[in-house]
Symmetry: C2
DNA sequence: CTGAAAGCGCTTACAG
DNA sequence: CTGAAAGCGCTTACAG
């Protein structure tokens, strides 16, 4: 595999001229350009990006770093960001940060150095006290979107955007209460996502209190973001507590797993058990019956994040969600319609 | 943000010594090492990976490049590869190649140069005649897994592993025939994945012929890998052809969308319509009723790909799939059990 | 319009 | 055990 010197030699020109052709600089003689381009093509020459990054002065690159790899929720947000970043004549450089034990804040610095970024949007991830020193040393704008930010993180060095987890969960559970449900189970993602799990649990509890329903910690299960986990949590809680008539789940995947258990056990949704999920993904819509869900404002997250990045101010925004009612919730038995 | 020179100056040592600490080289005085490490930590210094890549001689790096971003099917395969690569004391460097108009083969060269890879496994993607010159110039082992490889690609420069699409589809549709179905609709992903769509269509047709059922091209719909597409194709085909009693879908996502339509229309699965998906994903298992599916040999793909990479031979392997029967298929009406 | 040279931030023989 | 120097493959002023 050859480098720019080989190409220059083959073309009988200097490396600078080859570089100019590579980068579409205007001041190259037309014939020379064609000659060089032919050699580049025939050799299948591809410049080494590491060398390029090392030398190039930052040119309108926004890094979008996604924590975890296969999350359909983030995938849609990235698409929206792409549009909004390109609109401003910047490029989006996407990086997936696999779940590992390196600090998320550290990854940001690493990517900024490696790719000479002019700004970073980080999707997801966890930021704690340990992040502070990294974030402080960053000299370009940073926006954290849907990230878990501990209360001891210094918020002066970045902007952030997320949903009001407590309020969102409150609305969903309050709706269940208004439909007459009193024994409402909570299936949370607490084992894998303590942050969101906890906030949504608080919303759940607030809704019960608001409706004068005593809290019962036995109605709370913690699990993972998997169908399986939802299935098993539902099986467990509904077997032990047959008096439960509704389930609030902190994720659609968990809700689908739970719904699958309910139907498999020969019971009906919503007649026997009402259920609400969280995220508003297609999973829940295409389950049968379609599962009601708290829809995350995907578009707004994508747009606002880019807007914040370019705004030269540090802001921390909480977005509202929307409760999508589909066919998985009905009045509790004995309640009048 | 500082570089290795700054650290060296701060520590009062040469850059080489800092580099040695960074790379855990043994021959550094213990005290010096501690002193330098302290400064590295306090400065939150992170080496520039571009510079590193540029200089470092290749050291046991295997690149795994995934085409397209959010595919749960690939996600599991990557996990298995990770285990098998680490077992051999190599590291897996993951790269997601977003769908764009750059040749997949070109991306391989680019990544090899940028990251100094010792081998590449490419998951998915398309390889045509245009790929030949790139693949030829590659001087490290390459394995294409689940990729679409045109017949005019020169197979002497890489190994490959994929499933027997024709046979897999044949088995699924043959099973449908044996259950007495004669009017079998085909919902294919042909609009977005011509390659797999075509091969699975051939398997479908072979099965019908094998069972003396005349082909009817009106029973064939092409769409995308989305729930929505499956829903709409099912709606269309079942409305126009009420005589259809079974559906074969070339993807689980399409199958779930189709199943959702069937149930939404007030019809039953499998009593009114039988349905089989493809891939064996959790989507289909957790739908209610669980949808039968052609399961891809995920483990085998992951293991064999790594094995081939390290084997020093060029081989092209076709793996068998397994038809998982769940609750979405029954005998056609009028057929005796 | 073109080329020689400096330098991006590292690593690694080499000499000590 | 340590440091000065060369060089990875590019880009970009600079001089012509």
């Amino acid at each position: 595999m050859n480098n720019i010197k080989d190409i220059a030699k083959l073309a009988g020109v200097g490396v600078s001229t080859v570089s100019r052709v590579l980068n579409n600089h205007p001041d190259v003689n037309a014939e020379t350009r064609i000659k060089i381009q032919k050699i580049i093509d025939s050799q299948n020459y591809i410049p080494n990006r590491s060398a390029r990054n090392l030398k190039m002065t930052p040119t309108k690159n926004i890094g979008v770093i996604v924590k975890g790899s296969f999350n359909p929720f983030f995938s849609e947000i990235v698409e929206i960001m792409e549009k909004n970043i390109t609109k401003r004549n910047f490029s989006l450089l996407l990086h997936y940060n696999p779940i590992c034990d390196t600090e998320d804040a550290e990854i940001i610095i690493e990517q900024v150095k490696e790719k000479r970024l002019n700004g970073v949007i980080y999707l997801g991830g966890n930021f704690s006290k340990n992040s502070n020193s990294y974030l402080e040393s960053l000299d370009i704008p940073l926006v954290l979107a849907s990230s878990n930010i501990d209360s001891d993180v210094d918020k002066n060095f970045f902007s952030s955007i997320s949903i009001d987890n407590v309020q969102s969960a409150f609305e969903a559970v309050d709706y269940l209460c208004q439909m007459g449900h009193k024994n409402i189970g909570l299936l949370s993602s607490g084992l894998i996502d303590e942050y969101n799990g906890k906030l949504r649990t608080i919303g759940y509890e607030k809704a019960l209190i608001h409706n004068n329903i005593p809290l019962n910690h036995k109605y709370h299960r913690d699990g993972f973001y998997t169908f399986d986990s939802g299935y098993n949590m539902a099986k467990d809680i509904l077997t032990i507590h047959p008096e439960i008539t509704a389930l609030f789940s902190t994720s659609d995947i968990i809700a689908v797993g739970a719904a699958k258990y309910i139907l498999s056990a020969g019971r009906n949704i919503p007649e026997d058990i009402s259920i609400i999920g969280f995220d508003g993904l297609e999973y829940s819509e295409f389950f049968h019956p379609s599962i009601s869900s708290v829809k995350q404002p995907i578009e707004a997250i994508g747009e606002k994040a880019v807007e914040l990045l370019f705004s030269n101010t540090k802001k921390h925004i909480l977005l509202q969600t929307e409760l999508i009612t589909r066919n998985s919730v009905c009045k509790a038995k004995g309640e009048k319609i």
